[in-house]
Assembly symmetry: C2
Homo-oligomer: 276 residues x 2
C-alpha cells in the first residue's frame, strides 16, 4: 500500500484512508489485513480488475480524443466566392501545406449567401467574400481591395486606350451583375455618381460568365482586374484602367463572432494577411 501511495504521489495515510473508504462504500474488504505483506481478497482482485478495465478504457478514449483534436485543431475549412479564383486558392493551399504540414486546408466555393450560412452554422471556419458585411453573428476582417477595371473585347474602341474616364462608358452596352449582389449595387452607385448611363444588356451572378459575354462582344463590364489575367494573356479580353482610383472591390474574411479560432485557422489567417 505504501508503494501504491508513492506511485500515485500521495501519502501512505491518504492511500490507507482511500482504500478504507472504498471498502466502506462497497461494504466488502479488499485486503486481508491479517497478513503481511497485505493480500488482496477475492473482492479486492475483482475490484482491481474493474479499475484496470476502466483505466484501459480511459487510455483508449484519450487516444481517440487526441486524434479527434488533431483533426479539429489542424483543419481549416474555408468557404470562398468563386471569383477569388481557383489558381489563387491552390497557390495558397500549396503554401499552407508547405508551412504547416500537419494541418489540412479544405476550400469550398459557393455563392455569398451560402458562405455566410456556412460560417454561421460552423460548417466553415472562414468565409472569403466581396463587400463583406458584419452582423450580430458575423465578424469581418478586411483582406484586400481589388482594383476594378473596364473589361472590353479586344475589338472595342476603348481597347487601345491606356486609360478610360467614367464618361467613356456612357451609352455602352453593359454586362452587369445580378441585382441581389453587393457588387451590382456598388457599381450602380459608382456609375450614377459619375452621371454615367449604360445600356444594361445582360446580368449574371458570376464573373466567369460576364467575362465570356464580354469576350463574345455582347458588351463591356467593370470587373476586378486580377480576375481577368488569363483572358488578357490569351488576348480574349482587354482591361482598361479607370481614372477613378476609388473603384475597388473589397474582399474580406468573415468568421463567427464568438468562435475561438483554432491553431490551423490562425496559421491560415497569418498566411492571408501576411501577404496581401
Amino acid at each position: 500500500m505504501s508503494k501504491g501511495a508513492a506511485h500515485c504521489g500521495i501519502s501512505q495515510s491518504a492511500a490507507s484512508q482511500h482504500v478504507q473508504e472504498v471498502e466502506r462504500r462497497l461494504t466488502v474488504a479488499l485486503f486481508d489485513r491479517s497478513k503481511r505483506p497485505l493480500e488482496l481478497t477475492a473482492a479486492g482482485k475483482l475490484y482491481a480488475e474493474f479499475c484496470r478495465d476502466v483505466l484501459r478504457r480511459e487510455e483508449e478514449f484519450n487516444v481517440v480524443l487526441e486524434a479527434l483534436k488533431r483533426q479539429i485543431e489542424g483543419t481549416v475549412r474555408v468557404a470562398s466566392i468563386y471569383s477569388i479564383g481557383l489558381s489563387e486558392m491552390s497557390r495558397l493551399q500549396e503554401e499552407f501545406a508547405a508551412r504547416y504540414p500537419t494541418s489540412a486546408l479544405q476550400v469550398e466555393f459557393m455563392r455569398p449567401d451560402r458562405i455566410y450560412d456556412s460560417v454561421r452554422d460552423d460548417a466553415a471556419d472562414l468565409g472569403l467574400v466581396s463587400y463583406p458585411e458584419a452582423s450580430r453573428d458575423i465578424m469581418v476582417l478586411p483582406w484586400r481591395e481589388e482594383l476594378m477595371q473596364v473589361a472590353v473585347p479586344p475589338s472595342h474602341r476603348l481597347a487601345s486606350q491606356s486609360e478610360a474616364t467614367p464618361a467613356d462608358l456612357n451609352g455602352e452596352n453593359f454586362i452587369g451583375f445580378d441585382e441581389d449582389l453587393s457588387i451590382r449595387r456598388e457599381l450602380d452607385r459608382y456609375l450614377r455618381a459619375h452621371g454615367v448611363v449604360v445600356h444594361l444588356v445582360m446580368h449574371f451572378d458570376n464573373i466567369q460568365t460576364i467575362k465570356e459575354a464580354v469576350a463574345l462582344g455582347s458588351g463591356i463590364s467593370i470587373l476586378p482586374e486580377r480576375t481577368m489575367h488569363r483572358e488578357i494573356e490569351q488576348g480574349r479580353l482587354v482591361a482598361v484602367r479607370l481614372d477613378a482610383p476609388d473603384l475597388v472591390r473589397p474582399v474580406g474574411i468573415v468568421h463567427r463572432r464568438k468562435k475561438k479560432l483554432n491553431r490551423a485557422v490562425q496559421a491560415f489567417l497569418g498566411l492571408l494577411v501576411g501577404r496581401n
Copy 2:
C-alpha cells in the same frame, strides 16, 4: 444541462462548472454553446460514450461483487476432527440448511494440527477440536464435554458390570492414542492420578481404529461414549461407566482471533451453542 443537474441531484451551477472542468482537463469543448438547446461536439459524444462504457462496466462489477458477497457472507467453512462423527455433522448440516436456506455449510474432516492451520490461514472459518488450545492467533469457544467411558469387547469381564472403578483397569491390555495427541496426555494423567498402570499394546491416531482393535479383543480403551453408539447397538462394543465424573473430553470451537465472523458463521455458531 439543467435537466442533467436535476437528474444527478445537484444544482445547475454545479453541473455547468463540472462540465467546464472536464473540458479544461481534456482541453476540448464538449458542448457547442453557440446553439440552444446545447449540442454535443464530436468530442462530447466521444466522452459521453466513454462515460456510459464506464458506468456499464461498473454495473457489471457490482453484479459480480454482490454475487461474491453473497457467497462469502453466506458460507460457513468448518474444519472438524474425525471423531465429531459424520452422523452428527450431517444432522447439523440438515438443520442449518433448513433454518438458513440461503447459506451454505462446508465441512471438512482433518487431523487437529491441520485444523489449527486451516483456521489460522483462513481456509476455514471455524474449527472443531478436542482439548482446544488458544494461542496468539486462535481463540476458543468451549462447546461441549463428552463423557468418557471404558470401551471393552462384549466378551470382556467388565462388560457385564454397570460401572467400573479406575482400579478395575489395572494391568489391562490397553489401546491408546498416539503420543502427540492431547487426549493421550489427558488419559495418561488420569490413569497416573489414580495409580493405575495399564499394559499399552497399541496406539492409534484416531478413535475409529481404536474401536476396531477393541472389538477384535486386542484390549480395552477409554473413549467418548457418544462415539461408540453404533458399535454398542451392533453388539460389537460395550461401554462401561467410570465412577470418576471428571473424565470428559472437552470439544471446542476455534476461530481466528481478529476475524470478523460473517452472518452465516454467526448463524451456525448460534445453532451449535444453542443446542449442546
